[in-house]
């Protein structure tokens, strides 16, 4: 069985931990440079502020409705994510960190475990320990666990934040409720197309013939259909949501040296950057993680992730690798045998949107250089053109007028407690 754990309105929830008076109040969080809305609390969604909205266009809405606006504080969100993930890792033998606020847990050989109760216990523990509320969906495939999480989030009172799909009746009921565009892995293009065919709910999608799905939506679509039917197609770590691009590997051997991991992280960064360039987008934040072999209980265990907020959006291999290596240096600890590491690029924005600003951008020369690198690699067929270690010493300034304190990572910015 898989459990998908999702933090509720994660960025807004992080802000609320240290500003409890904002519970139940509308909150939006802006992207780097305070450009556009990247997160909204449920209360803010009701004012019709779309995801990605340009902040200046909604300034009036913010003021008139008393909406609390924050610059993105990735030092805070990253640290809170780290706390949530480290708690979660103690609840299952295997875990996949899927994004800054989502993780899959895999329960195997846990037949006798009451998963509903276990889920409620996880929700209670994480929510109490970190102040960040979470929801959990449990099912026998990853795609269905995503569906179950939707149900848990939509009906918090009824479910207590946990929904278990453990029979066909529940599976069909959930799929009949879930709009097709909300299905994990169905992009807006496919959703539109299916809608045009009168397929508006996930259930109708699962009733399509396999052949049609394979022909029109490729094997990826077919795999998804099977997953929704309860047939196991995806193990941990196989596909990634569009909002994040991740490159992670389980190593064939265990690494102990910083230099070895630095090389891997550097390579992962280059792969992520290539994917970003291919789809014409940039990232604004990076998550780097590493952990030891969870199956080797005889060895000392260590697991850590860090989120680096980038001073400007970029898809340059050089820049992403540099920030990733900086992040790695911060979380690497000597004396452990590392089995897995990865780079996840997050907060993805289109490349064109970045051209407007003159001083706060990625090095424009890199774009040209990366074009050359990509073309060379494409023509040679293999990744022959690689990064040497390159130093970049430009300083950047970011517009972050509404940044909250780094409550959990800076001693000078911690909460004041009155007596």
């Amino acid at each position: 069985m898989f459990a998908l754990v999702d933090c509720n309105n994660f960025y807004a929830s992080c802000e609320r931990v240290f500003r409890p008076e904002l519970r139940g109040k509308p909150i939006v969080v802006l992207s780097n440079n305070d450009g556009c809305v990247i997160a909204r609390s449920n209360e803010a969604k009701r004012f019709g502020i779309p995801m990605g909205a340009a902040a200046y266009q909604y300034e009036k809405t913010f003021i008139e409705n008393n909406i609390h606006v924050f610059s993105s504080n990735f030092a805070l969100y990253g640290d809170m994510s780290s706390r949530v993930m480290s708690l979660l890792s103690s609840f299952a033998p295997e875990m996949e960190i899927y994004s800054i606020d989502e993780a899959f847990l895999k329960f195997e050989g846990c037949k006798y475990l009451n998963l509903q109760e276990y889920g409620l216990m996880i929700v209670k523990t994480v929510t109490k320990s970190t102040g960040v509320p979470i929801s959990i969906g449990i099912a026998n495939t990853k795609a269905l666990s995503k569906v179950a999480t939707r149900v848990a989030k939509k009906f918090p009172e009824k479910t207590g934040g946990v929904y278990l799909i453990d029979d066909d009746e529940k599976r069909i009921k959930a799929l009949k409720w879930l709009p097709i565009e909300d299905v994990w892995g169905i992009g807006s293009r496919h959703a539109k197309r299916l809608n045009a065919l009168g397929i508006t709910k996930a259930y109708a999608f699962t009733q399509l013939p396999d052949e049609w799905v394979r022909k029109n939506m490729s094997v990826v679509g077919l795999r998804l259909k099977h997953e929704l039917e309860g047939k196991l197609r995806l193990d941990l770590d196989t596909i990634k949501a569009k909002k994040n691009i991740a490159t992670t590997r389980t190593f064939e051997k265990q690494y102990t040296e910083f230099e070895e991991l630095r090389e891997r992280i550097s390579t992962f960064s280059v792969t992520c950057a290539e994917k970003l360039r291919r789809q014409g987008s940039c990232c604004n934040a990076l998550m780097i993680f590493l952990h030891t072999n969870w199956f080797r209980k005889d060895l000392p265990q260590y697991s850590r992730n860090i989120v680096m907020q980038l001073p400007y959006p970029t898809n340059s291999s050089i820049e992403i690798a540099r920030f990733a290596k900086e992040g790695l240096a911060l979380i690497f600890k000597k004396g452990y045998q590392y089995k897995k590491a990865g780079v996840i690029v997050m907060d993805i924005t289109p490349e064109v949107a970045n051209q407007i600003s003159m001083f706060e951008n990625s090095n424009p020369k890199h774009r040209v250089l990366m074009d050359v690198v990509d073309r060379l690699n494409a023509s040679i067929g293999q990744k022959k053109v690689k990064l040497a270690s390159q130093a970049l010493d430009r300083t950047w300034k970011m517009k972050q007028e509404r940044l909250s304190p780094r409550y959990s990572t800076r001693l000078s910015e911690i909460i004041t407690i009155y007596t």
């Binding site: 409890p20 949530v84 109490k128 320990s129 911690i414 909460i415 004041t416 407690i417 009155y418 007596t419």
Partner: protein
């Protein structure tokens, strides 16, 4: 710098410290004695890591800075650093960081049937009664106080 349990009578444990985030001090586990040195003395494998000693649950531990004097009788004074664990249960008698009507405050908890009492540890302050009327949460439990001398 000293570290003390707020629940106990302040028994001081004096530790040498540095300003590094992680405090690793070589620690030689051998009483002072004259005479032939033990060969085991070369085997220095123990160290004091204050992160480990003072933070039992890293994922749920946060810090806060004290402002005010209502808790000075148990050694919590203005400017002290509180180590707060959110995972611990808010039971009767605990020193808790609470959020009451717009601000964080630290007090001793007295749990009653239909209300909480927030008890100061300073004679010149009065207990505060908290009912359903108040915007109130117990935010975390204080596990250590760190003060600069």
């Amino acid at each position: 710098m000293e570290a003390l349990h707020p629940h106990k009578i302040p028994g001081l444990v004096i530790l040498s410290v540095s300003t590094e985030t992680k405090l690793d001090r070589p620690f030689i586990d051998q009483g002072i004695s004259a005479g032939f040195p033990s060969p085991a003395q070369d085997f220095i494998d123990l160290s004091i890591d204050l992160n480990k000693e003072l933070i039992q649950h890293p994922a749920s531990t946060f810090f806060g800075r004290v402002k005010g004097n209502s808790m000075i009788d148990i050694g919590i004074s203005n400017g002290d650093l509180l180590i707060v664990d959110k995972s611990l249960e808010a039971t009767d008698g605990k020193i808790a960081v609470c959020y009451v009507d717009g601000e964080f405050t630290v007090k001793r908890l007295k749990v009653e049937k239909d209300c909480y009492w927030l008890l100061p540890e300073n004679e010149s302050y009065k207990p505060i009664k908290v009912t359903a009327e108040n915007d109130f949460i117990v935010w975390g439990i204080v596990v250590f106080v760190i003060k600069a001398l």
